[in-house]
Amino acid sequence: MSASVEQLSCQELVELVTSYFEGALPADERASFEHHIEGCTGCHEYVRQMRTTIELTGRLTTADLSPAAEAKLLTVFRNWKSPR
C-alpha cells in the first residue's frame, strides 16, 4: 500500500464513497477506504448517511406523464397500423 493511499484524508474519502459503493475502487484504495472508516467515527457516520440517503431516495415514486399526454399516447397506439 503506498503512503499516499494509506494517508487518505476525510476530505478525500468523501469523494470516493460512490466509487466504493459501485465496487469501482482499485484493491489498494478499497482497503485504505475500509481501514479509514473503521478508525474514523466521522467518516463512518458519513458513509452511513450516504447509505441512508440512497435508501430514502429509493422510497420515492416517479412522476408519470400527465393524464392528457397519456390519453394522447393511447390514441396514437390505438390508431397505429403496422406498415406491413
Partner: protein, 183 residues
C-alpha cells in the same frame, strides 16, 4: 411502461414539460414504426432510449439548448465538492490536514421515514441540475443498473458515476441541513 423515465431523460434536453411530453410521444411512434428494424443487438430498453435521446437532442438544438450536453459529457469540467471545504481542517494543518473539523452527527432514526423527510429528499432532487437529477432518478428511484443508465444516456461509466456521486452528495447535505436545523 417507461414513460416516467423517458420524460425525465427528455427533460435533460428540452426546456419544458410540454415539449418533453411531445418527445415521449414521438418516441413511441418511432418505436412502433421502427420495431421491425430492431435487431436485438442492444436491449429493447436501450434501443427505446436511443430513439428518445435522438429526438430530444434534435428538439433541444432547435430550441437553442446546448449546455446540458457538456454536463453529460464533461461533468468534471466544473469541479464540485461532495462536502464543503470548510467542514475540514486546512491542508496545512500540522496534525490532521483534511480531517473533519465538524463531524457529521448521527441522524434521528425515528424521523427518517417521516413524510417531511421524504419531502426534503424530493425537493433536493428537484433542485439538482438536469443531468444529475436524471442519473439519481434512474439509479436510485427507479433502481436501474449503472449499465442501463449509461446506455440510455449515452455517457461513459465514469461520467455516470461522477453525476451520481454529486447528486447523492447534495441530497445527503440537504438531509443533514434539515436534521440539524429542526432539532
Amino acid at each position: 411502461m417507461y414513460n416516467a423515465s423517458l420524460l425525465r431523460v427528455a427533460l435533460i434536453y428540452v426546456a419544458s414539460r410540454a415539449v418533453a411530453e411531445d418527445v415521449v410521444q414521438e418516441t413511441w411512434i418511432g418505436v412502433l414504426n421502427g420495431i421491425d428494424r430492431f435487431e436485438g443487438r442492444s436491449s429493447l430498453k436501450t434501443w427505446i432510449f436511443r430513439i428518445l435521446t435522438n429526438i430530444a437532442k434534435t428538439r433541444g438544438q432547435r430550441e437553442g439548448r446546448t449546455v446540458p450536453f457538456s454536463a453529460l459529457e464533461r461533468p468534471d469540467a466544473v469541479p464540485e465538492a461532495a462536502v464543503d471545504a470548510d467542514r475540514f481542517l486546512p491542508a496545512d494543518h500540522g496534525r490532521w490536514p483534511g480531517h473533519w473539523a465538524s463531524k457529521p452527527e448521527r441522524w434521528p432514526e425515528e424521523r427518517l421515514l417521516a413524510a417531511e423527510t421524504r419531502a426534503v429528499v424530493e425537493q433536493a432532487i428537484e433542485r439538482l441540475p438536469p443531468a444529475q437529477r436524471t442519473v439519481i432518478s434512474l439509479r436510485d428511484v427507479e433502481g436501474w443498473s449503472s449499465d442501463e443508465t449509461r446506455n440510455a444516456l449515452g455517457v461513459s461509466e465514469t461520467n455516470q458515476r461522477v453525476l451520481l456521486h454529486r447528486a447523492r452528495s447534495k441530497v445527503r447535505q440537504a438531509l443533514e441541513d434539515y436534521f440539524s436545523e429542526a432539532q
